[in-house]
Amino acid sequence: MLSLYRFLLRLYPRAYRHEFGVEMLAVFREAQTETWKKGVLARGVFCAREVAGLLRGALGEHLQAIAGSDLLTASRSRINFTPTWSGSPTKRRFTMRSEFRFPKATAPLMALILALIVVAIEKAKAIQASLPHTNPHVGPIQPAQFTLFSTVLVVVAITCAAGLLGWAILFALRRSGLHRLSEFNPSERVGPVGGGPHRP
């Protein structure tokens, strides 16, 4: 279980792992030692809870890293919620900022994909029109007979594919350098750019 925990910890962003990884592992060890004395059922519940918690946490941290922690915390901090019990309305102010930027190559790439799809459709139509209609009659399509095993296999395959796709999207967005925007502070840029002599 400890090795599984270590493996799942790798799903977290590097900065998060660096800050909390050792601590989380130590707390997990302590909790595991105690739970292991309680029996099989308690162990099962503990493992399921930890795995689910790690997966949810890793996804949340990645989403936060992609969207930019500054954006999320800024939007939260701007909700000025003052609990007042005298009947006056609570004041709420939302300020929305768009810090999300797609990479510049996105639009041409999407246009290229769209053009390829259109060309492929037209080509298929042309091939269909050129073929003689001498195909024998095909009977009604019978529904596939799914057994329990094949159903589980299909569900697992779809889940894995969806997970991989999601992960690829997250990875692509991280590669765009978007998460670095939240750490960018223009005020820290002091001194001449390029290491030239500093003019008073």
Partner: protein, 118 residues
């Protein structure tokens, strides 16, 4: 700063830290104890909440003399304590309001509410 109201796990973590600084495992145990075993936090949930509370300035790291790596303690900041107090006030008000509304529908509940307040 985090907006109010807070979620139940976060509220329990804050209540756990209200009394004294605690490290991760101690928070897990205390939350379980406070909720009579109804809330069991996973380490992923706990550290996700701690990370956000640290970022929002509600809690801070507390240096212990004999702390080993992996046993980092946390404590409430003054701002965190103030916000926790606000949240508790909000919940108290909500509970009182709920009692009053229910008592209007079913007057038998008035006695129950008074017993609860006593």
């Amino acid at each position: 700063m985090r907006s109010l109201p807070v979620t139940e796990p976060v509220l329990l973590i804050l209540l756990s830290l209200a009394e004294q600084p605690r490290h991760g495992y101690s928070i897990l145990k205390d939350v379980q104890e406070m909720s009579d075993g109804q809330v069991s936090l996973s380490t992923g949930t706990l550290y996700g909440a701690l990370r956000r509370l640290l970022q929002d300035g509600w809690i801070e790291r507390f240096e212990e003399n004999r702390a080993s790596r992996g046993r980092q303690a946390y404590r409430l900041t003054p701002a965190g304590r103030r916000n926790l107090q606000l949240e508790v006030t909000r919940l108290t008000h909500l509970t009182r309001l709920a009692g009053l509304r229910l008592a209007r529908v079913n007057p038998d509940l008035v006695g129950v509410n008074r017993e609860g307040e006593a």
